[in-house]
């Protein structure tokens, strides 16, 4: 492990910003910090960068303690949410700034700046003033500056969140190609995001953060298939995984009045009792002999329909693979795909997942 964090803790005015955070990262890998807003992602990134000093805990990079190393001597680069550039410098000088600080010789500066600018698709923009650029272009300049630096650790704090939807999608694709070339080299890349799809698409390891604590760390598909607890299940799915209280008893799952489901194979060994059951919105299909729900709202999105329904004590969101407009308060019968159901204990920890996870 090249970058190791041990028990990072930070408390400001009685509120926990970092709560005993530990993780290990290897060079040549991409890591995604996944968590809702205010989960502590930015604080963690700034702590790694050295802008924030934690109350306790240690941070080691290549086995040397970063505690004493000030920000400007750390081998790191960072891209902010609000595309931060130096307003008084043009594009070329902006990207060259860190290299000039390192006293790199002019010829090398020129080469590295040009390659960085072309890798973010800004050829020919060198002379432009920052204020004349669009949001997307400004963010590309900020990224080019971080790439030109060829730092050991590259931090990106939700770089796409302030951009147009389509531009976000396009840049996400571009970033992935850029990262694969940078990550191939020996640097660590840490990307923070609130969108589970973005985390999955980037394809690196995912660290799920919530309320300043690391809930789970693992490859993307592992987090998706076996969320450690209900909170991870909510964070790592869009729309959040549906959670329903219920019990396992005499060979079936009881979810309320007339809502019983047959026991799936992966629940065989579970002791009867109360559980929290989880089911993804996409694991639901329209079926005439399913459980009846009343429609609260239906929203069409492209080739799918989001169906918000309520039944018994549960509220439920289904993602149907068809396009149909449901009237409010219409009753509809849905069949829940039992083979895809999760079981969490009452404390919220994973007991059994359709992919063999849990105890």
């Amino acid at each position: 492990m090249d970058l190791v964090a041990k028990g990072l803790t930070l408390e400001i005015e009685g509120e926990n910003h970092l709560d005993d955070i530990s993780f290990g990262m290897r060079k040549g890998e991409l890591y995604t910090l996944l968590g809702r807003t205010l989960a502590g992602k930015t604080t963690l990134l700034k702590t790694i960068a050295g802008l924030i000093t934690p109350d306790s805990g240690r941070l080691l990079f290549e086995d040397c303690d970063l505690g004493g190393v000030p920000v400007w001597e750390r081998n790191i680069a960072m891209v902010y949410q609000q595309f931060i550039n130096y307003p008084h410098l043009n594009v070329f000088e902006n990207v060259a700034f860190p290299l000039r600080q390192r006293k790199v010789d002019p010829a090398a500066i020129n080469r590295r700046v040009m390659t960085a600018l072309s890798s973010v698709g800004l050829d020919g923009f060198e002379g432009r003033k920052i204020q004349a650029l669009s949001g997307g272009q400004q963010q590309r300049v900020a990224l080019a500056r971080s790439l030109a630096k060829e730092a050991g650790i590259l931090l990106l704090d939700e770089p796409l969140v302030n951009l147009d939807y389509k531009l976000r999608e396009q840049l996400r694709e571009e970033f992935r190609n850029i990262f694969s070339s940078t990550v191939a080299s020996d640097s660590i890349l840490i990307y923070s995001s609130t969108d589970p799809l973005e985390a999955m698409q980037l394809g690196g390891e995912v660290i799920v953060l919530d309320e300043a604590r690391v809930l789970q760390q693992g490859p993307g598909h592992e987090i998706f298939e076996n969320p450690a607890n209900t909170r991870v299940a909510e964070i790592s799915n869009d729309p959040a995984m549906n959670l329903m209280n219920g019990t396992i008893g005499d060979g079936s799952i009881q979810l309320g009045a007339d809502m019983a489901l047959p026991l799936p194979p992966h629940f065989k060994g579970l002791t009867p009792g109360d559980y929290i059951f989880g089911l993804r919105a996409s694991d639901v299909i329209l079926a005439d002999k399913g459980i009846s729900f009343t429609v609260e709202l239906s929203e069409i999105s492209g080739s799918e329909t989001y169906l918000h329904v309520a039944g018994g004590a549960h509220k439920f969101v289904g993602l149907l693979d068809m396009v149909r407009n449901f009237k409010a308060a219409e009753t509809v019968s849905l069949s829940l795909d039992v083979k895809k159901i999760y079981a969490f204990d009452m404390a919220g920890d994973l007991v059994s997942s359709p992919f063999g996870g849990g105890r």
Binding site: V71, H88, Q101, R145
Partner: protein, 282 residues
């Protein structure tokens, strides 16, 4: 309804404009009068109501030997003292303001805001009250009646203004720019000089304008702390007033003393319209 509202608006503006311009116009016409036309009651229009003479203006440039009141030298002194004091105040004020806006200071129960209040509270003490102790201190240091002494005192007068404006300005510049500079390898001083400073020129110009205004218009410190060696414009003009009552030279001197700051007014207005000022002053 709109008509009444409009006429009321323009009416009020014209009345106030006349009120603003009146003393200047009166000073202008008086500056061309002589003893006889002044004492024969209020007159306004030259040639029609009185015979204009250039006596008022001539006296200003004449050396004291032949009855003149040479204000060229005090004029220059005023400019030098005000500009030097302003520049020093801005430099020191900007540095302190940057620290107060970016870093958190804790000394017992004193926090950043208390330090900022300390800076601004220097304005509470009336100059006349401070001038007595300054009189004794400068006397002790042998700086009485000297430019250096006066500039030192003016710094106390002007730095609070620079700090007040610059703290507000730095609170507008996003913190992330400093952080990015640090990450890119600048230590905090380089981050300040290479990145933050170039972007705070507008704020410093606004602070400079205010320092010039308050420096140029001070009277009491100059009045008490300087005698013959160093004379500032306001002191020389008020001295005129108490000896004989040459209204004409008084008016002329007054008009000349306002002239340079009208340029300042134009600069402040340009910043106001361009919006930088509103950012700096909110």
């Amino acid at each position: 309804m709109h008509k009444i509202y409009l006429s009321l608006k323009y009416g009020f503006i014209c009345v106030w404009s006349m009120f603003v311009v009146a003393p200047f116009l009166w000073a202008l016409s008086t500056s061309f009068k002589d003893f006889q036309s002044v004492t024969s009651g209020a007159t306004y229009i030259p040639w029609l109501q009185f015979e204009p003479t250039l006596e008022g203006w001539r006296v200003l440039w004449e050396s004291p030997a032949n009855g003149g009141v040479d204000i060229a030298e005090p004029y220059l002194n005023s400019i030098i003292v005000t500009c030097l004091a302003s520049i020093i105040s801005i430099i020191l004020g900007t540095l302190s303001a940057y620290a107060l806006s970016r870093f958190t200071f804790k000394a017992g129960f004193i926090r950043n805001n208390d330090i900022t209040f300390f800076f601004i509270s220097q304005r509470i003490m009336p100059p006349v009250v401070l001038s007595i102790p300054f009189f004794i201190m400068l006397g002790f240091l042998g700086l009485l009646d000297s430019m250096v002494g006066l500039i030192m005192v003016y710094i106390v007068l002007l730095m609070p203004i620079a700090v007040w404006i610059m703290v507000d300005f730095f609170n507008k510049v996003p913190r992330e720019i400093d952080e990015t500079a640090l990450i890119d390898g600048c230590n905090p001083y380089q981050a300040f000089f290479k990145v933050v400073l170039p972007n705070s020129i507008p704020g410093m110009i606004v602070a400079g304008m205010f320092c010039l205004i308050f420096g140029w218009t001070d009277f009491f410190f100059a009045f008490i702390l300087t005698f013959t060696e160093v004379q500032l414009l306001p002191v020389r003009i008020v001295a005129l007033n108490s000896s004989i009552t040459p209204w004409w030279s008084l008016s002329a001197a007054a008009l000349i003393s306002v002239a340079p700051l009208i340029v300042v007014a134009f600069i402040v207005e340009r910043f106001l319209s361009k919006g930088n000022l509103s950012g700096a002053l909110k």
